[in-house]
């Protein structure tokens, strides 16, 4: 059963986020945390719909806390405040999810190898991962397809440069410069966020 975000929640959320910079931070936050929580839930054996639901609940729980955010606080702190609230919401939601997850088809192996409630290092690792994925989507369109594909095949898929050069009909040297340009920009975007 999916829990839908009630319209009034969203409305009050947007009212509380009158500061457009904070609103931007919220969208960025949701874009990173929703898939992050979804992934952690799937890894614990939850089915697609249940994992989506759990991610939604975490976001709603964080959204519900936004009224506690003091808007007179220092600007730019909203993001780190969100991260703190999200950590607690995630731990809380997963703790409550525990009995359901066992029924929801998780194998004994998964239960044994995966702590039900995420620890800080897992959260940190997953967050970093999701920031990379978010950053990749942000910068993707700044590059020609061939440049991006050169980066993707070499760096992400781990193919040999010479192989990729042949596949794309490009020189080895141009593959090196292409993946370097993408990586540099990706790194900038990731650092911009953290």
């Amino acid at each position: 059963m999916l829990v839908h975000e009630p319209p009034e929640t969203r409305e009050s959320l947007l009212i509380q986020l009158r500061d457009a910079g904070n609103r931007e931070s919220w969208f960025e936050f949701a874009a990173i945390y929703r898939p992050m929580v979804y992934r952690m839930a799937r890894r614990r054996g939850l089915q697609d719909a249940d994992a989506q639901d759990l991610a939604q609940r975490v976001l709603l729980s964080v959204a519900g806390s936004i009224s506690e955010w003091k808007s007179d606080s220092e600007r730019g702190r909203f993001r780190s405040w969100l991260a703190r609230v999200a950590r607690n919401a995630i731990i809380d939601t997963f703790r409550r999810e525990k009995p359901d997850a066992a029924q929801g088809g998780s194998t004994i192996m998964q239960q044994l190898t995966q702590e039900p409630v995420p620890a800080d290092d897992e959260l940190e690792h997953e967050h970093r991962r999701e920031v990379f994925r978010w950053a990749a989507k942000q910068v993707r369109w700044e590059f020609e397809d061939s440049t991006w594909i050169a980066f993707w095949l070499t760096t992400v898929k781990g193919k040999a440069t010479s192989e990729v050069a042949e596949e794309l009909g490009k020189s080895v040297g141009s593959i090196y410069t292409a993946k370097s340009r993408v990586m540099k920009r990706l790194q900038e975007k990731v650092q911009e966020h953290s």
């Binding site: 970093r128 080895v172 540099k184």
Partner: protein
Amino acid sequence: MSVDSQQCDPTRIACFLEGELPLDALTELQRHLDSCTSCQTQLDDSTATVAMWQSAAESLHDESIDMESISTVLTRGEADELAKHVTDDGVRRVVELLAPTDDPQMLGRIGSYEIAGVTGSGGNGIVLKAHDPALNRYVAIKVLAPHLASSGAARQRFAREAQAAAAVVHENVIAIHGVAESQGMPYLVMPYERGQSLQRRIDDNGPLGLIEILRIGLQMASGLAAAHSQGPSSQRIFFWPTESNA
């Protein structure tokens, strides 16, 4: 072949990374990188640390979970259908309806937004690139096509579309910053993405390659799945192709 391409030159790599290498020098550098393994390594190392490269690879590698439940793929005909334009006449009429602006660089104003240009038109609306002076950033504004603006049903659909898109937070559905009306034109404010619209891509680059069609198809299916999961009212949503998974 010039002597330059035969010699290792760390300054040239530094210049390249700063984006300051002229085109002919870039060609020389690429030719040199074809065979010089020491410069290949140096370029990799100057671009990012080993840990950073690994982090990127590890973070971006596993797409399997995202793609698991998606099986729909768009045919070429469907992609074309998706990209159909409304007439340029619609664009002209929207531009005529803009409020005057003091900025000679701009076409006009909608609310407090300065309109810099038209980035596309399609479906039921026209997309404008606009500058938000309060935040000093660009946004995309989608205006309901003028020939539809007088139809109550079309306006309602446009509003529902906005609500549906605003209710869905998904990477392939555009986030909505706000909905408002100006000079009788309903409009949505969305984040401005640097990407070309699908139609522009087809116009500029010819027919989409197979990889592109598959990629856009997957994104549409995944965006639709997210919208569908929000309830049956989400009939129309915005698509914005994101990263290539090729």
